[in-house]
Symmetry: C2
Subunit: 439 residues, 2 copies
Amino acid sequence: MTAKPLQIGLAGLGTVGTGVYETLCRNHELLEARVQMSFEVKRVAVRDLGRPRDVAIDPALLTDDWRTLVEDPDIDIIIELIGGVTDAYELITAALRAHKPVVTGNKALLAERGGELFRLSAETEAPLYFEASCGGGIPIIQSLTASLICNNVERIAGIINGTSNYILSAMERKGVSYEEALSAARRKGYAEADPSLDVNGRDAAHKALILAMLAYGTPVDPRAIAVYGIERVTPVDFQFAHRLGYTIKLLVVIKHHEGSGKLELRVQPSFVPKEHLLANVNGVFNAIAVRGDIVGETIFYGRGAGKNPTASAVIGDVMLAMRDCRHPEHHSGFHPYTQAPELMPAEETVTPYYVRFLVQDRPGVIAAIAAELAKKGIGISAITSTPHGEEEQADSNDLVLLLHACAWGKLKQALREIGNYDSIDRHPVVFRIENFNES
Amino acid sequence: MTAKPLQIGLAGLGTVGTGVYETLCRNHELLEARVQMSFEVKRVAVRDLGRPRDVAIDPALLTDDWRTLVEDPDIDIIIELIGGVTDAYELITAALRAHKPVVTGNKALLAERGGELFRLSAETEAPLYFEASCGGGIPIIQSLTASLICNNVERIAGIINGTSNYILSAMERKGVSYEEALSAARRKGYAEADPSLDVNGRDAAHKALILAMLAYGTPVDPRAIAVYGIERVTPVDFQFAHRLGYTIKLLVVIKHHEGSGKLELRVQPSFVPKEHLLANVNGVFNAIAVRGDIVGETIFYGRGAGKNPTASAVIGDVMLAMRDCRHPEHHSGFHPYTQAPELMPAEETVTPYYVRFLVQDRPGVIAAIAAELAKKGIGISAITSTPHGEEEQADSNDLVLLLHACAWGKLKQALREIGNYDSIDRHPVVFRIENFNES
């Protein structure tokens, strides 16, 4: 044990902050025994001192000015859990400039301004830890940066938004609509009042940017990522998916193309083969599959959000910071080490596809679609219509095609041509199919 | 970058040693960039200098005396991959005494003599790293000791022997016998000429002892573990398992009982509900489910053995050792921090069970079995006979019972009584059922 306990400053006492404070108290003895160092929480910054709290905390610890944490020379480590991007940016940069290591779970900030923050961290030799920014309690950051360090990461594919996975799982299990499943998620506290960042894929995209940065060594431009949410997924698509041996998951896919050196980075609801482990990740759970050139395929599974799982990740980082802060020159935080890779435009990315057209029951419709696809050299691997057990509509019908792998740009052109036909819906439903059998 | 490259001594150039050497060469630049330190392999100890090798290595690097590695003052880190327990013990203790950090994957040695080795590591302040000792490329050691450090581990359940999982998966998929599946595993190189340690559960038990040590803070007595292998699993049991909604996996189960403080530690083929992720871990893959009081359920999946996956784990440790070796007093290796917990005798451990009796088709047989179970207070949750699609035998019949949870000692007594009946096989097949829904 070190003689003087390390002093921790905690900024933010919301859901996760409360989980961190409670766990640091409850499992204090265990933590000190395991890490063989002693520590205490010296000060906790909150927005409003007067607000009633459901955690037992000595009011003398509280301050409503996070600057007192950063300016206190006794505080060794800062935990940033205030959220948002403005104050949090100020807090983190002030702490790094004061040479204090920072632990954060702020994925939006890291996705938007990670480049600046890591540069500052390198300049000031104050490490920045962020296990809690992706995958909740799943140790994906530590695994990518330490355990799997010898691997060229070939591909990452993951379910990293618990709210949208809860909604998709409920739609699948109960056959309900997106709107019904969203209401259920709200009632259970798995969706916020404004769930847009979760369901439109932007939260997953923030996390994908962090994973891509870790895998490829440098912050990636957040504007270049192709993002689609789950709002347009319907029970009909789930029925077709099942019939064809798939389920639908909001997937993040990150791939490095060795030939071109380009980085493919996209977030979208995708068809996943039923027998794949990712297809069996349900409810609010997350899972991230990482394929490395040396280790092969690995998958990390766990609770991707919530008070305690996120607190578990934060505290893992605090303990790393405690070990590292005696020797900042060899800290275990992330250092950018390469130039930003070129991003692959969405039009160039290649997968198989599921396409559902609403077509009028007229002669020649299938012929027209097939001819346009053939013109572009796009192969059809399966074709089917109204899903099993569905009533046929009077005049129009769902026509589903599974297409062989082709560039999205090519398919987009073909769909534009097909949309010119009178009897065919201009806006077919398109999902990518991820078979995970790429070489 | 540090001015002088860190010097690595590699002992052992078998399958994994070759993978480590090749990867340290192939991904050398990537590793140095990521860890921001430079390193080189200074010396490689082999058993036989004259043996032809399928790895390109400068003969000047080779020695047939591992002592030259330990005694070389320039060598900073030793990798032990010579295997066995005698020479490896000598090598590791000599290296620790020379204050050199050691990276090893030697599970048998750690399971048998981990206590001594960790005491010596503490005395000499030379850390011992062993990610490769369990789960191949899966970063389970690092996750348990660092990322999940704030958790009281409530339960670990895992598939941690690739050979036996390959055999069980093949039996399930192809409906073949244990012997046929074992031959197939041998042909594919997934089973050694003498596969006994893999199929009898002892290899999994070694790894379980390491996981228990990490979770509960101290080496555990290897004699106290209850171990059963997969040799008695039959296609008939797979048929019943499917019919009842299960599959069969060789599971390691480690549980801490808060009330009694006792540690439950067992290895046996078990029924796993088909919808559980562990039921979907097939072939040579491993998966380890860890439930912590803070993080909840997590699962780690990947290749549990083989040249490159194991090399990935070894090199992850080497990079940790490189960071740590400048500051051994705060190394990220494991320190025992508590007293050995009392082990729960197998007779006291409680699960539901699957029991298959071979019975003669006589009146009163079911009555007799049911009466003996009732006498001991053991409830029957389901009863069924010959599996679907099987021919009935002339005079005898499979009778399968699913039993509610009870202590193994109680069931053993009941089975002894039942064995006294003439028309009932004295040696029924018994599998535990793991439902993973314990509170």
